[in-house]
């Protein structure tokens, strides 16, 4: 399997250009789906290769529970630098498992606590809570909005807010968000994709809301007002030196023309090259990990028939 077993660990780098360009060049719906799919496939391949390396590394350890034949030199020879890579893969895989497990646990915990907080309220989909702090959240099956936020919005803007949150529910955006969150835990090189999907999922809901209320500036004002209402005391950070954050970019996008829902950028534009580059990276990642898995399976079967 040679170097192929290492490729899926670094191939997420090929998705960085598309994570950066998808925001402006693709329709938010297409961008969210594409980036989520790339992240999930690449995280799976990367983790599979870590498992393969971990098996080779564990077989070299004295007193391991694996078949004795698996520590043969032929098995180690299948992986370049097998001693270092194999041993490094063990803590790496443990870290991935721990991080993903913790992320899943927290996800379930927050959802459970939120559901429990809302027990006994009438109405299934929309919960309006009397609270002086402005906020609006989409749970997997419910919308939670505080009265402070609703009071700060004009009627049309409230409709935009609810349309935005309903779009989150209808498109099951929490699944995309959880998938990219876990993918970023599985391979840190996938973190830009998580950031991008968080943004494009919001943009997707913004565009759905703009379609529902048939008035893009109203949605833009709803977002802008909500952000200004819910801003806390500005912390003395270096944030103002950084690039403009997500909220102004969303508002600016809504004040501009609607994105074209049709298909993909042409192949020989920057965005087109980024999409094809990421697609090629994903394909190579999948093929490398499949190749490595089959090769190692055959080598191990030859070394010690089960």
């Amino acid at each position: 399997m040679g170097v192929f077993v290492f490729l899926p660990l670094v191939l997420p780098l090929t998705a960085w250009p598309v994570a950066r360009l998808a925001e402006g060049r693709l329709h938010p719906r297409a961008a969210t789906r594409l980036l989520t799919a790339i992240a999930v496939v690449m995280a799976g391949c990367s983790t599979l290769c870590l498992v393969l390396l971990m098996v080779v590394g564990t077989a070299q350890l004295p007193g391991n529970p694996l078949p004795d034949g698996w520590s043969d030199p032929e098995v180690g020879a299948a992986v370049p630098h097998d001693e270092i890579a194999g041993r490094a893969a063990i803590p790496a895989l443990a870290a991935v498992a721990a991080l993903c497990g913790r992320a899943l646990h927290r996800h379930r915990r927050v959802i459970r606590l939120a559901r429990r907080a809302l027990t006994g309220l009438p109405g299934r989909a929309v919960c309006v809570l009397p609270d002086s702090t402005p906020y609006a959240y989409a749970l997997p099956d419910r919308i939670v909005v505080s009265t402070a936020l609703l009071d700060g919005l004009a009627p049309g803007e409230r409709r935009a807010l609810f349309a935005h949150e309903r779009a989150h529910l209808a498109a099951r955006h929490h699944r995309h968000l959880l998938a990219v969150h876990l993918a970023a835990r599985a391979n840190p090189f996938l973190r830009p994709l998580r950031t991008a999907v968080r943004y494009t999922a919001e943009r997707w809901a913004d565009e759905e809301a703009a379609g529902t209320v048939a008035d893009r500036p109203t949605v833009a004002h709803a977002i802008g007002k909500a952000a200004l209402l819910s801003r806390g005391t500005p912390a003395p950070t270096l944030a103002h030196l950084a690039a403009t954050g997500p909220v102004p970019r969303r508002v600016a996008a809504l004040l501009g023309p609607a994105p074209v829902a049709r298909g993909w950028p042409a192949a020989f534009t920057t965005a087109g090259l980024a999409v094809w580059g990421a697609a090629a990276g994903t394909l190579v990642s999948a093929m490398s990990s499949a190749n490595s898995a089959v090769t190692l399976f055959l080598i191990l079967r030859a070394a010690a028939p089960l």
């Binding site: 429990r116 006994g120 809570l129 609006a136 968000l177 833009a220 806390g232």
Partner: protein, 138 residues
């Protein structure tokens, strides 16, 4: 332990709901009867005391026992619980899709400029009441 806590969290809503249906100050025994037999009297009193701490019920002494009245509705109780969740969970952003994310000072300036350029008179968010200029009414 976790199960007991969860049960109590859900019971708070039921007890508050029962108090609101009572139509006047009632005793803990009345609440216990109203909720059906499977709750111990001490459990009902414990939950009422927790609700008192959250300031959603009030009590007055009548003879040897207390009479309880609701001061808030179930929605207020839910809001309190939700706030506790939002304030306590550091990485809720990873789980809950928020309508808007935090706004650093630089972004605020950009945002105000964008909104002012887009349409005058609708950017004032200092007052809580919705603006009555009718700009967004259909």
């Amino acid at each position: 332990m976790a199960r007991a806590r969860r049960a109590q969290g859900e019971l708070e809503g039921q007890v508050l709901g029962a108090l609101r249906e009572a139509g006047g100050p009632v005793t803990a025994a009345w609440v216990q009867e109203r909720l059906g037999g499977d709750l111990a009297y001490t459990t009902v009193v414990t939950i009422l005391t927790r609700l008192l701490a959250k300031d959603v019920v009030a009590r007055e002494r009548r003879g040897r026992s207390f009479l309880w009245t609701p001061t808030a509705d179930v929605a207020r109780l839910a809001a309190l619980r939700m706030r506790r969740l939002l304030d306590g969970e550091r990485d809720r952003a990873a789980v809950l899709a928020s309508f808007v994310t935090d706004l650093p000072p630089g972004d605020e300036r950009v945002l105000r400029a964008l909104l002012e350029a887009a349409g005058p008179g609708r950017v004032n968010t200092r007052n809580a009441a919705p603006s009555d200029d009718g700009g967004t009414e259909d």
